[in-house]
Each structure stands twice: as structure tokens, then as C-alpha cells.
């Protein structure tokens, strides 16, 4: 149940972000529709609107089909198979979505070519020396990042001063410090990314770049602040509340929501400001780089910049004509695939490796994926067969799915428990050891009975 909820949440987030991403192509941005630059007066052209209508219709069909294809995820009993299905579903969805977008970009470019709507010269790089010169001054100082970076270490320092053993301090401090460093890299990327002139007017070029550089550098600094304060709150919460409780999740959720709000807010603010500035300018956009975007991604061999702002969707993308851009794109795709397939393999082992109990000499051996256990038979204090499981328990280190509980749990009735349970198949064999309980069963009640008999025999020897 909990896994289904997590998957549902992940699916909704994925669908919403892809939907929002696709919709950005429909709104004119810097005179671009579907990532294709058009003359301002052609943005409302009936032929252009027809292509947009087709695009909208096609991606709606795509979304409807993939939402329908997602339904089986909630009925697959094994978590490993759910992971595999989810991986294939996401990969197919992204590929199909990409095809739809690229197909319509192609149509728009063909229309543009047919009516010769080209703006300005191709292969021309335009630089406004004043923008390039003042770029650094347009950014909010990166020194502000020292503050969230320092705050990151508060949990660790408090632990040290109070000689406390709070295990979360180290991971919270490190992750928060890493986030501040990441924000510093993003800050530098914003400042370093190529600032091109969009018209002949220096004041407009300056204002356009000021909107982008100032807003985004401010965004990454605030992002680092939000994250470090979030970590600090988590640290204080961890003293009063258990990690698995709701308030803890709420602190995380609020931090994530504020961070996401910051990014989306900045994105809309910058886009709005830039479009307003461009509409004020009577001079045209003088560089036409559409052909470098024709494949749906940016590939410009004349540009040594690795990153560039996306034309469709949010954030930045890589220049696939550079070795670094290629490495980053393929690297992240491979890393994502490896993570997904690795988790699938791990869960496959958990889902399908049978759990068995044997007695070898005086030792009881439980073979199970990852959480195998052995104990001397003489340690057994009592053995009983139960028809029901304790109603509540907290997983401390293990796996818990709708089918099975595997690993270490903390259960109010028993204390520490090592569980090897197929939840739907009673009875359950409860073995009491000096400082913990082992609860085990098999999918067949006869086998569970055999385990019980075997232990009784061993104990009576």
C-alpha cells in the first residue's frame, strides 16, 4: 500500500512536470513557438496556429495513452516487476514525447522555410561588449553562499559540543553543504553561460541579461538558504520526533515545495521580463539559431559553451556538439538506467529468492536475500506458532512490501525482531532468543509446520 502511494506520487510528479514542459512550447517566448523563432507578426498566423493545434492534440493523445498504460503498475504484486515496468514506461514515454515534439518542430521549421520567415543572419554570433563587460556585476554576489554553507555545519557542531549521538547530524550537514556547493556551481554556470545580443539596442540587451543573470543567481542563493534552514529544522525535529513520523515528512515536503516554487517562480519571472523587454524593442532579433535546434536538442559546433537555456521546458540543456555536453547527457541517462535496473535487480533478488530455514548440527540457519541469519539452537528460549502478526511495527533496517517483511523491525509486543515473513500466509513461527525474536514462515503452511517440528525436535535433544 505504502509503495503504491509512493509510486502514485512519483507518477503524478513525472506527469505534471512533463505536461508543464510540453505546454511551454505553445506560449510565445522571445518570439519562439515550439522552439522555432518566428517574426513577431507571424505568431498568430493561421498556419502556425494549426501546427500548434495538432501538437496540442497529439501530446494529449500521448498523455492519455500513457496514463492508461500506467494503471497496471498498481496491480503488479512484486515490487521488482513494478520497478521494471515503471522504468520501461518512463523510457517509452520520454522517447514518444520527444518524437511528438521533434515532429512538430520539423513542421514549424518547414513552414518557416517555405515562407522564408528567417530573421537575421545564420552562423553569426552577436556580442554586446557592454553586456559582456558588466556580466559579473549583474549577478548577486556568490559570497552570500558562505552563509548557508556555514549553517550546514550547525548540526555537526551542535553534536560535537553537546557530545550527542544524533546519527542524522553528519548526513544532514554533508548533504546541506553539498547543496550549497551545487548552488555555487549553478551560480557560476549562470554567469558564465554565453550572453548573446538580441537586438541592436544596448540598453535592452543589458536589461535582458540583467533579468536572467540577477534573477537566477538570486534564485540559487535563496535555494541554498532554504535547503540549509530545512536541514537545520530536520535536525531539531529529529530530537523530538521519530524519523518515520508525519511532521518529519512535512518538513521535507515544505522544503521541497519552497525550493521548487523558487525555481518555477524565477523561470516565469525571467521569461515574463524578457518577453516584455522584447516587445518594447522595435529592432528585430538579429541572430537565427533555429537550425541548431532542429533535432529537438541543441547541437551547435560553432558554440563552445556546454550549457544553454532550453527553448522548450525549464532550465538548461547541454550543447550536444561539445564532448562535455555529450558526456553529461549520455552519462546521466546511463546513470539513471543503471540506478533503475540496479534497484530492479536488487528487488528481484528480494522478491524471488526463497527463504529457507535449516538446522545444521546445533546451529539454526536462515537463508534469505541480504538478511540471512544464524543462531545456536541452545539460545532458543521458546517457540510458538501464531495465526496473526503484531498490528504495528517499525522497520529499522529491512524491506517491507505488501507481500513480505524482511530484515530488522521494532515491534511493541516483542522489541527487536528479525522478520522473514510472507504476510498473507499464516501461521507464523515465533522464536524467542535472549535479546530478540525471529519470526519466520513459508508460503506453505505445511512447511511452516515442518519448521516448528524441526525446532521442537532440536530443542528436545
Amino acid at each position: 500500500m505504502i509503495f503504491n502511494l509512493i509510486f502514485a506520487f512519483a507518477l503524478v510528479i513525472f506527469l505534471l512536470s512533463l505536461w508543464a514542459n510540453d505546454r511551454t512550447a505553445l506560449k510565445p517566448n522571445k518570439n519562439m513557438l515550439l522552439g522555432v523563432t518566428l517574426p513577431h507578426e507571424k505568431l498568430e498566423n493561421p498556419k502556425v496556429l494549426e501546427i500548434l493545434r495538432q501538437y496540442q492534440k497529439n501530446y494529449r493523445i500521448l498523455f492519455a495513452s500513457f496514463i492508461a498504460a500506467a494503471v497496471p503498475i498498481f496491480f503488479i504484486p512484486y515490487i521488482s516487476l513494478v520497478f521494471l515496468y515503471l522504468f520501461l514506461w518512463i523510457a517509452a514515454f520520454m522517447l514518444a514525447n520527444d518524437r511528438v515534439v521533434v515532429h512538430h518542430i520539423g513542421k514549424m521549421l518547414a513552414l518557416k522555410r517555405k515562407y522564408d520567415w528567417f530573421l537575421g543572419e545564420k552562423h553569426i554570433v552577436l556580442i554586446d561588449t557592454e553586456v559582456t563587460r558588466q556580466k559579473e556585476k549583474l549577478a548577486v554576489s556568490p559570497l552570500w553562499l558562505i552563509l548557508p554553507f556555514a549553517v550546514s555545519f550547525v548540526p555537526l557542531l551542535m553534536n560535537w559540543f553537546q557530545k550527542s549521538e544524533n546519527s542524522m547530524a553528519l548526513s544532514l550537514s554533508l548533504s546541506s553543504a553539498a547543496c550549497s556547493l551545487l548552488c555555487f556551481i549553478l551560480h557560476r554556470t549562470v554567469v558564465k553561460s554565453g550572453s548573446r545580443a538580441v537586438c541592436e539596442n544596448t540598453s535592452i540587451n543589458l536589461a535582458m541579461n540583467s533579468a536572467r543573470i540577477h534573477s537566477w543567481t538570486l534564485c540559487w542563493i535563496l535555494f541554498a538558504f532554504v535547503e540549509s534552514i530545512g536541514s537545520l529544522l530536520l535536525y531539531f525535529t529529529s530530537f523530538i520526533l521519530d524519523v518515520s513520523t508525519l511532521p518529519f515528512a512535512i518538513v521535507i515536503a515544505i522544503t521541497v515545495l519552497i525550493s521548487a516554487g523558487l525555481i518555477f517562480g524565477t523561470y516565469y519571472h525571467v521569461r515574463q521580463m524578457q518577453n516584455r523587454l522584447l516587445s518594447c524593442s522595435s529592432e528585430p532579433i538579429i541572430a537565427d539559431e533555429d537550425e541548431y535546434w532542429a533535432k529537438g536538442y541543441y547541437c551547435n559546433p560553432h558554440d563552445t559553451n556546454t550549457t544553454i537555456e532550453k527553448r522548450i521546458g525549464y532550465g538548461y540543456t547541454y550543447n550536444m556538439a561539445t564532448a562535455k555536453g555529450k558526456a553529461m547527457t549520455y552519462g546521466s541517462l546511463i546513470a539513471a538506467a543503471a540506478l533503475f535496473l540496479g534497484l530492479t535487480a536488487l528487488f528481484m533478488v528480494m522478491d524471488f529468492t526463497p527463504i529457507r530455514m535449516t538446522v545444521d548440527g546445533g546451529t539454526v540457519k536462515i537463508s534469505a536475500p541480504m538478511y540471512g541469519y544464524e543462531f545456536p539452537a541452545v539460545d532458543i528460549q521458546s517457540v510458538s506458532l501464531e495465526e496473526t502478526l503484531p498490528s504495528s511495527g517499525i522497520r529499522t533496517n529491512g524491506a517491507s512490501t505488501a507481500q513480505y517483511d524482511l530484515g530488522n523491525f521494532s515491534v511493541p509486543e516483542y522489541g527487536a525482531v528479525k522478520a522473514y515473513l510472507y504476510k498473507q500466509y499464516p501461521p507464523f513461527l515465533v522464536i524467542e532468543l535472549p535479546d530478540l525474536y525471529v519470526i519466520i514462515n513459508s508460503k506453505s503452511s505445511e512447511v511452516t509446520q515442518e519448521y516448528y517440528d524441526l525446532l521442537m525436535q532440536t530443542m528436545s535433544k
Binding site: E121, L126, I127, K135, G194, A197
Partner: protein, 133 residues
């Protein structure tokens, strides 16, 4: 001012940067004492190697158009002295251009009218006179 680089031109990028800055000075878009972007920043924005920009700046410095100030970086110099050396260089360049124009069948009048228009664009209109080859 705007620097316009043609990535497919046969003219090397460093020469294009040099020419564009000289044009900017000639047109009055860059005035004496005005700072230019740093080599690194200009290279980033133009998507070219820093060495290319550095070469262009070195050339501009050698020709007396800019000077490097420790505090302000590359700065446009006050108008360099118009001396014999420059006259000779200008004469050489103009001779070749005039010869090319003549080889293309261009009349002296047209050639001069061309020069006049260009000077007008730069804001330095010459006196009205009649010329002929």
C-alpha cells in the same frame, strides 16, 4: 557596441574581433577611456578560445588602439598619433583596394563615392571635391 562574428567566414575570428573593435572606435561607439570586456568573458560569450581573443587584443594593443590598464583591463586609447608610419600603411592598403576596384572596372568617381559614404557612416564627411583616375 555590437561585435558581429561570422563563424563561416574565411577571415580568422581574431581578425574579425580586431576589425569590429576598430570599426567601433571609428564609428564612435567606443570612446577613449572606455573599458572592453576581459579576454575570458569575451571568449565565453563569443564561444571561442581565450587565446583567440587574447591574440586580437594583442594586435589591437600593438596597433595602438587599446592599452591594458592593471585596474581596468583593456581600455580604448585616445586617438593614436597620425604619423608617417600609419600614412604608409594606409597608402599600401588603399593602393591594393584601388587596384582591385580598377581591375573590376570601377570608375574612380564611384570608388571615391564609396569611400565618402563609408566616411559619412563613420561621421567624418570629406569636403565635396571632384576626383578622377
Amino acid at each position: 557596441m555590437l561585435i558581429r562574428l561570422d563563424l563561416k567566414s574565411s577571415l580568422p575570428i581574431y581578425m574579425q574581433i580586431r576589425n569590429q573593435i576598430v570599426l567601433g572606435i571609428g564609428r564612435g561607439e567606443l570612446s577613449a577611456g572606455q573599458s572592453l570586456p576581459t579576454v575570458r568573458r569575451l571568449a565565453e560569450d563569443a564561444s571561442v578560445n581565450a587565446m583567440t581573443v587574447s591574440k586580437a587584443y594583442a594586435l589591437l594593443k600593438e596597433e595602438g588602439y587599446i592599452e591594458t590598464d592593471r585596474r581596468r583591463g583593456a581600455v580604448v586609447r585616445p586617438a593614436p598619433v597620425y604619423d608617417d608610419g600609419f600614412s604608409a600603411k594606409l597608402s599600401d592598403s588603399l593602393s591594393i583596394l584601388a587596384a582591385e576596384a580598377k581591375a573590376h572596372g570601377m570608375k574612380g568617381r564611384d570608388f571615391l563615392s564609396f569611400c565618402k559614404n563609408i566616411l559619412e557612416e563613420l561621421g567624418q564627411e570629406p569636403k565635396e571635391e571632384q576626383y578622377d583616375f
